[in-house]
Structure formats: C-alpha cells, structure tokens
Amino acid sequence: MRRIWYRLSPQMLIGELLEKRWMEPIVPFALMLAMFAAFLLAIPDYASVVQIQLLMRSFPEQAFVAIAMAISILSGGIDLSVGAVFAMANFLALYLFLVQEWSLPLVLAGTLAWGVLIGAVNGGLIAYAKTRPFLTTMVVLIIVRAAYNKATIAYSAQLASGYVENAAWDFIGIGTAGGIPFNMVCLIVIGLATHIYLTRIRSGVHIMAVGSSRKAARHAGINVKWSLFLAYLLSGVLASFAGFLYAARQNSAGTDTGVGWEVNALAAAVVGGISLSGGRGTIARAMIGATIIFLLINGLVQLGTHGSLTTAAIGFILLLAVGFNVKFVKHKSTILQKMYVSPTLVNFKEPPSIERGSGSVFAENDRLLAVEPIGLGKIEGPEDVILDRYDNLYTVNRNGSIIRFLAPDYEVREEFARIGGRPLGLAMDKDENILACVAGMGVYGVRPDRSIFKVTDETARTWYRFKDDSRILLADDLDIAPSGLIYFSDASTRYELTDWALDGFEGRGNGRLLCYDPKTNKTTTVLSGLAFPNGVCVSHDGRCVYWVSTWLCRIYRYWIEGEQKGTLEIMVDNLPGYPDNINRASDGTYWLAFVGIRSPAFDLAMEDPAFRVRMVKQIPPDEWLCPGINYGCVIKFDDNGNVLESLWDPGAENHATITSMREHKGYLYIGGLENNRIGRLKLPDADQNWTSWDSYYAKDLQVASDVKTMEVDHVVDS
C-alpha cells in the first residue's frame, strides 16, 4: 500500500502540474468555479437559462473595462481613467443617439473616436512625455469625470425624457444571437481578438515585452514608446466600446455610471493573477478576475446582502488576491521546488562489506594508488573516455566539447569538437565516428574529420504524463549493438544533470532505456520507469545489453537477440556502491565504475519517504542528504553476474568520483564526472593488444584480414 502510494505519488503529479505555465491561473479559475457553485447552492434557479442569460448580459461591459485595465497593466503601467472614459462614452453614445439622433454606425464611430482621443492623450503623455501612468491617468480620470458630470447635468432633461424606439439599438442592448446576448458575443469575439493580438501579433507581443522589461525590450529593438502608446489607445477604445454597449442596454447616464469601475477592473486584474509589475498575465485571466468580481457582487445582491457588506467583500477579496499574488509569484519557484521533489520508497538490504581486509571482493585496497594522471588540471569532468585505433584518447569536457589527447604520451591536448550541452557517455561506431550522449541535447556524433551530426534528440511522448518527456533530457550512456541499433539511456526525465543527486534523493524511476534505429531514423522507448539507467554496454556476444540502475545499485541484463529477446533480468543486486558506466574488458568480462559508495544512513532514509519529504520542506536543498558520490572505485564482473575484483583509490585522493573506465592495449583509462584528470593504470595481466574497437568491429574485418593473411602465407609458401 505504502509502496503504491509513493510510486504513484500524487505530490509528483501536482508538482509537475504546477510547473506548467497554464496552471498559473488555476487558483483564480478554481475560485471562480467555487463561487459559482456556492451561489448555485445558495440561490434558487441560479443556473436557469434565463438567469444565465441575464448574467451574460450584465457582464460584458465590466469585462471590457477590465480588459482595458489589464492591457494597461500588462504594458507595465496602469490606466485609472477607464471608468471615467467608459462613463463618458456612455453619455456620448446616448447624446449622439437620443439628442443628436445620429444613425447608429455614426454613434458607434463617434463613441470609439472618443476612446481613441482619450487613449491618445493618455498614451501620448505616458509614452512620449514620460509622465507617470498612475498620476497621469488619475488626472485624466478626474477631468473626464468632471466633464461627464457637467455634461449629464446639461443634458439631463433631454436624456431623462429621451426614448427612441430603434430595433438595432435595442438589439445591441437586449438582443440575443443564438441565445447568447449580443454584448456577450461582442465580448467573446473582441476578447479572443485581443488575446490573439497580445500573443500572436507583433505589435501586441511588443506591448507584453515592454511590460516584462522595458530595458530588455529597448535592447531588443522594440519601439517602446509606440508600444506604450498603443496600449493606452487600445485601453481607451475598449473602455469606450463598453460605454457604447452600456448605453444601448441601460439607456441611462446616471451620476454613478462608471464610478468605481476602475477599482473593480483593477481588482479583476489582480484577482485574475495579472502581475501588477507588468508583462505577466493574459486576457483570459482578466476575464476570470472580472467574472469573480461580477459574480460576487451579483450573488451577494441576490442574496439580499446589505450594500456596504458587498463592498467590503470586494475589498476583502482584493486584499486576499493581492496578498496571494505577491506571495505566490515571489515563492512560486520555492514552492515548486519543494513540491517537485517527490521521494519514493526504496528498500535496501545491507550491502556486502567494503572493509579493508574483510575478504569481500569489494574490500578496499590500494590497486589504484599507482594510477598516473593524464591531463591533470587540463580537463574538467571527463565523464567518459574512449580511444581510437591510433591510441588517441578522447574525453568529454564540461564546457560541451570533446577533447583529444594525442598518443603516445598524451601531453598534447586539443579540442576535437565542440558539441555544446554536457557530453557524457561515449561510444565509437564502425566508421570510427565518436557518438556521445549529451545531457540536455540528446545523442550526437563526431566524424573523424571533426564534423558534428545529430543522431537523435527525441522519442515518443508518454501520453499519461503532464510533463512533456518527448525530448531527451539527460542522455547518459550508450552502446552500439551488432545490428547497428544504438541503445542509450535517458537517465532522468525529471531532473537535469546539475540536479542529478536530487534524482537519487527522490529514488524514483524517472529514467528510460531508448533505442535509435539508424535505418528508420526513429527512436523508441525500450524500457521506462527506470531509476537512473546508466552504463549501457552490449555484451561480448552481442546478444544482450547490460545496464545499471545507479540509484538501485543493480546491474540488469536486457536481451536483444535470441529466444529471450525482449526480456529483462536483474543480474547483480545490492552492490555496495552506485554503479555507473560499464565497458568491455579484454578477458571477456566487464569493467564497472562505482560513482559513489552507499551510506547506511542514506539507505535508511530511502526506506522512509515521509522523512525525506519533511526534509525537503524543512531544510534548504544544499543540506539535503544525497547518495554518497564523493568516492568511487572500479569493479569487474562477468556474464554470469559474478563480481571478480575491485580496484580502490584509498581516500579517493586522486579520483573523487569514478564514472567510467576504458581498457586499451593493457591500460585502464579512468574518467570521472567531477574529476580534474584522467587516470591511467597499467594492467600487466591483460591482453596487451586488445582494444575496445576491435572487440566490437574486428570480427567484420576478420574476413578481410584472414584473406590477406592467407595471401601472405601463400606467398611465403611459394
């Protein structure tokens, strides 16, 4: 039960969900639904067709004003004049229509012209005269409001008695299209258009960019002033369009029209989660915010609440939203980090002893003391090493390049190729191209002429996961089967290389074994849900792939040929260290690097996910326990799963971690992810002519060379 809970881990789901950008408005959205549900319960017939229609009819003008406010906020400023502009537009529409008796299109044009005018004033002052948005729009608010009051008084009698029967006017005011009120249709269409404008159209995107960072926008060559001007223009036009709709619907220009709408619009923007510092938010969020405010007022009035309480409720909601907004934005990454790491249950048995003199095959010894350094201080993090047929030594560097040390003395260092990313595991194919797993990128190759090519960087996405795992996030090690298929591991789909210890802390099966087929140019997922798969190596007979789970301390065998093809088995379990790369040895066995040594305290913590969850919550990441990857060693195992020997560097003085080793002509070359050197150890008992490349590809050449030898023999004979 416990195991299943931790394996399924709802926390992980939430963590991955929270990481999604589209999850940001989830809180306001949920609030909106909750509010609707609450009123549904409290108010009879709340969800009846008529009632919904009514709600839809009453809502759009406020939503337009909220959108107008949102655009100004998104541009990095604020437009307090929206309410007054709206009211004035309402008056103008009524005046032009009722008093001047203009035709409807002209009334609309006149009203919008007002919006353009006032938007231009706002925008001109703010963008070109560089006045402060808050003060500028507040002054405009006061002036427009005063003008509105004068105007309504001047024409009060005409407006009060004016009553024109006009079907088109009434349709705009109270008509429906397919059951949806006309003004709601306007809102949907214009809302969508505005959204597309701000996210897809160049000048709209520029407004967002200016809001995010004015300086960066300027550096990017955006006309900041023009963008700001446009934002206020748009804001003015939207507010005045709302005024036009309102005029058609209400037929009334009261002193209270539009009073406090800027506050409601601001509240809507904030409740919707639009950042007051600009650049972050969407039109949809403004709508969600406006809906919340609207439903709240409407619902409370329907419940017969005293007006002052309704106002207080809005204030309270606004306060909460601002607080939440500020806190959430500020702490989102921390919350995410604490939510994201989702430890699971791993049960370890006590491992074999590593005590010196204990008689265990893993017992500490001095066999790596004699290691001589190559490239000391000239290399940063040689995770893997490989040698070509001319004995040149290739390794990876943490700056994303492949480094070559030239034979025979390896004194000369040169940058062979620069791939980028963080190259890790290496392999050499038949054509002597170097193939490299590159963390953050995928699998890449370097030809002997130093040209770089991409092998693969994506696989099929797992359909049931929130996190998009189609990209290969942490390609770690690879090998090439006789068939030419490239098997490689994507060690973690949840953590990048810099956080690989966190993946171990989590202990979850986040990785997968992938296979790239050069013939079809397709990558398939062979095995998934693996805890840091690593050390991919094709067996000497080419019938199976050995790989290790670093965090579970196991060696697995995956059959790729023969009758067991497609089956997976654990070959060695409960290693005392964290296994990393596997490579072939000259005697038909395999070398395996331990990147670290298990710690009993950490093993114990792995059995207690709740303890680790609390650790994540209570102490900073630097202090979290992690797998002990400061000391490593090298071991050797055979095809039957017997561990044959171990090679130790006492105290790990020279090689803090060991992630890889490659045998070549009687020497063992040692690499480490966080080392500053490559080690070279003489193997006196090994085949002094054996090379890895030959062990993979010499059989193919065998025929050719046999023929040659025979020819030579023949010559001698004759």
């Binding site: 309504t152 008084i153 009698a157 409407n298 329907q302 609440t305 007006g307």
Partner: protein
C-alpha cells in the same frame, strides 16, 4: 448572516402557510354556510398568503431602511414572502437585480428608480411577464400599476410658495438657490421644474443657482459655499431632499448667514431633518413621512394583490400628504429610527 435570516424567514413563511391552510380546512368543513365576514377574510387570505413581493431600492439609506422595515413587518404579518435587493447606489447592479427578479417572477415588484430611464424598459418587461409593478417616490418613464409617493410637482410648488412668501414681491434680494438631487431622477427633476415655474411667476425672484448635488451633503456644501461667495445676499434656498441639505445649511452657518438665508427643504421626515429644524438650521421642512409612506406602499401592494386584473391594467397613484415641520412641536411628522 443574510442567508441565515433569509432561511429563517422562509421557514417562518412556510409555517405560517401551513397554519393558515390548516385553519381554513378546519373551518371550512364544519360550517358550510358562507359567512360574509369569513368570506372576506378567506378571499383576502387566498389573494395574499404565500405571494411574493420583491423590493429594489436605490440603496439602503435611512429613508429606504424605514420603508423596508415597514414593508417587512407588514408583509410578514400577512404571510407574504418579501425579498429585498440592495444595489448600494450602483445603477448597473440595480438593473441586474431588477432583471434577475423579473426572471424569478414575484407577484409584485416594488422599485425606486434612480433615473427616469434606467429601469424603464425592464419595468415594461416585468408587466408583460405578469408582474405588477409599484414605483416608489421616484418614478420612471414607464407608467406602472401603481405609484406610491410624493406628488412631486405639488411639493415643488409648496416649497416655492414658501420661498416666495419670504423673498417674493421685492422682499429681500429675491435671490433663490435650488439644490437638486440627481438631475435625471424623476423626483428631483419634476420638483425642480415645478418650483422653478412657480418662482418665475414673480419677476422679482432671481434663481441664482439650480444645481444637482446627487443627494450628497458634501457636494451641497461645496455648491452652496460657492453660491454664497457670489451672492452673499442670498434670500432663500430650496432643496429637494433633507440629508443633502445638511451640507448646504452648514455652509450657510459658516458664512454667518444662519437665519438670514431661509432654507426650505423637501423631506422624508427622517429624524435628522427634524433635528436640523430644532437647531434652527432649516427654516421649514416639508415632510412626506416615510413611515406612513411605507404603510401606503403596503396598502397599494395589498390592493394590487387582491385585484384580479392582469399586470399593467391599472394606474393607481397614492400621493402622500405632506406636512410642514417648522419647530419641535411638529416632531410627530418625523419618524424614529429603531436601533
């Protein structure tokens, strides 16, 4: 809290209904013969019990609260469901509230119009949906089943006559200022027009100012301060409504003109207005006694409930009688606010 009281109310109404039903049944069975007084009562009960009356004021000020209190007490007593929506001076919210209520189909809708136009269309729709509509004090451009409230023009004329009496015919400077309420509200509009007409009959009268102050005492104070600066010899102020006038009276007092500038106020009879009279800040106060008006609203509603004709067939008007308040002895024309 309001939800709770709403529920409690519903329960009470339900209980009441059940009791009445039980009563009628038990009474109907033994005595077959129609007792005329009993018949009257039965008819009344049938017309009223379980009916629903909805009320949307502009906001819940002192005046509206008094109406609401009277209505609530009376309707509950009669077993009528009574709902109130408070838009808190927001016309868009009021329109929403009225629209929603129309969809809920109460038997009677009572509204106080903030302007002549805002609710006009919706009130028409309400009547076409079969809801009888009563407009209170401030009517709209739509005439509905009943109007309860001040005879606004008459009130305007009465106030103007008082002003004429002190300022007309060459007495004093003849300068009169009018403080309107909301310019587009019927109450203010009609009263101002009537007063203006009356005043203009006397050529010695000069209307130096006629401005709306939106029912707001602060605004009235500002306006009056300006007027007094320009016309320190102002003779009289006519104001359409009590509470807003307090600001004007204060401005007069600050200018040291208390008693010299006569202030005539149209009032709903809320206690503060009578206090102002007592303090000598208002000269005279024409009260339309909101509490009594509340009773009249109830009467109109009860009448409409018992009227079998469909909505829109009647045009009753229940004009309120106005009472002059000129000193503490007229305190009875002000209501008291229950705490």
């Amino acid at each position: 809290m309001s939800i709770f009281s709403g529920r409690a109310f519903a329960v009470r109404a339900g209980l009441c209904l059940a009791a009445v039903a039980a009563m009628t049944m038990s009474m109907a069975l033994p005595s077959q013969a129609a007792d005329p007084r009993q018949q009257l009562h039965d008819d009344f009960t049938a017309a009223t019990v379980g009916k629903k009356i909805a009320w949307v004021p502009v906001w819940l000020g002192v005046l509206e609260s008094e109406w609401t209190r009277v209505m609530k007490e009376n309707f509950e007593d009669k077993g009528i469901e009574f709902v109130m929506r408070d838009p808190n001076f927001k016309s868009d919210v009021q329109l929403q509230a009225v629209s929603t209520l129309i969809n809920e189909k109460p038997d009677i809708l009572i509204v106080q119009n903030p302007t002549t136009t805002l609710l006009a269309r919706e009130l028409k729709r309400a009547m076409s949906e079969g809801i009888k509509v009563i407009q209170v004090n401030m009517s709209s451009n739509t005439t509905t089943d009943a109007y309860v409230g001040v005879d606004v023009p008459k009130m305007g004329r009465l106030l103007a006559k008082e002003a004429l009496a002190v300022c007309g015919g060459g007495k004093g400077s003849g300068k009169v200022a009018i403080l309107q309420g909301e310019a587009t509200a019927a109450y203010s509009l009609d009263m101002t027009n009537a007063a203006t007409e009356t005043l203009e009959k006397d050529p010695s009268i000069k209307i130096v100012s006629s401005q709306p102050v939106n029912w707001d005492a602060n605004k009235a104070s500002e306006v009056m301060t300006n007027v007094l600066q320009q016309h320190p010899d102002l003779c009289s102020i006519i104001s359409v409504w009590g509470p807003q006038t307090a600001g004007a009276a204060q401005a007069v007092k600050n200018a040291g003109l208390q008693g010299k500038v006569k202030i005539f106020v149209g009032s709903d009879g809320q206690p503060a207005d009578c206090d102002m009279i007592d303090q000598g800040l208002y000269t005279k106060n024409l009260s339309y006694t909101a509490n009594l008006q509340g009773e009249q609203i109830v009467t109109a509603a009860l009448a409409l409930l018992q009227d079998p004709r469909p909505a829109g067939s009647t045009h009753y008007a229940f004009y309120t009688t106005n009472y002059w308040v000129s000193g503490p002895e007229d305190r009875r024309y002000c209501f008291t606010v229950s705490k």
